[in-house]
């Protein structure tokens, strides 16, 4: 969440939403959360586990351009 929230500060295009998976089981099921942290960007790009900053921002760019499944 830390990287996401710093990116939200840096860009008015980015929103960072932390979701406590056990308190929102329906949402977690809908997004097939099997392991945490699970990151979902624009409901298009998703991955589990932490990524280094450079790869994380690349995923944000892919999510924005809508051409990336990962």
């Amino acid at each position: 969440m830390r990287l996401a929230q710093h990116m939200a500060i840096a860009s008015d295009k980015v929103r960072a939403v932390a979701i406590e998976a056990t308190e929102f089981p329906e949402l977690s099921r809908a997004y097939q959360v099997m392991a945490v942290p699970k990151i979902v960007m624009n409901d298009r790009v998703q991955f589990e586990g932490a990524l280094p900053e450079a790869q994380f921002v690349d995923a944000v760019v892919r999510a924005a351009s809508g051409n990336g499944k990962s």
Binding site: A4, I9, D12, A16, V17, T22, V60, V61, S65
Partner: protein
């Protein structure tokens, strides 16, 4: 009874020395949906905000304060919006405990200063975004 231990309070108070501008936690609750969780969330937000005179709390009701909820894009509870000089789009759904608690504190600091700790390459990539991106981060307290 306090949620945060005296030691946690001291640690957060020290972290909050980095706050440079006002930061507000806008808390959304709804007694009928998740009363106990919402109360705990409100209590936590109040305890955290009490640790700095730059931090404040506003508690809203999702069903009563509908316009505010819509404006913030909040549709579930418990929820916290972390707002600095502007609404930067930082949201916490569910009580931010465990690892998420340190993220809450960190988000308050960065919303207060408006200075994210990111590389120049990252900032350049973000500045080129033309479409909005919502990043959902699912986590658990442990």
């Amino acid at each position: 009874m306090a949620i945060l231990s005296a030691r946690d309070q001291d640690a957060v108070r020290k972290e909050f020395e980095k706050l440079t501008g006002p930061v507000k936690l806008v808390v959304f609750s709804q007694a009928l949906t998740a009363g106990d969780l919402c109360r705990q969330n409100e209590d936590l937000a109040r305890e955290v905000a009490a640790l700095s005179d730059k931090a404040s709390v506003e508690v809203l009701n999702l069903s009563i304060d509908r316009e505010r909820a819509e404006a913030y894009g909040v549709d579930q509870v418990p929820a916290i919006v972390v707002e600095g000089a502007q609404d930067y789009g930082i949201r916490f759904y569910g009580i931010p405990s465990g690892y998420e608690f340190s993220n809450l504190v960190d988000s308050m600091i960065v919303a207060s200063t408006g200075e994210p700790a990111l590389s120049e390459r990252t900032k350049t990539s973000l500045a080129a975004l033309t479409e909005p991106v919502e990043i959902k981060v699912f986590s658990t307290p442990t």
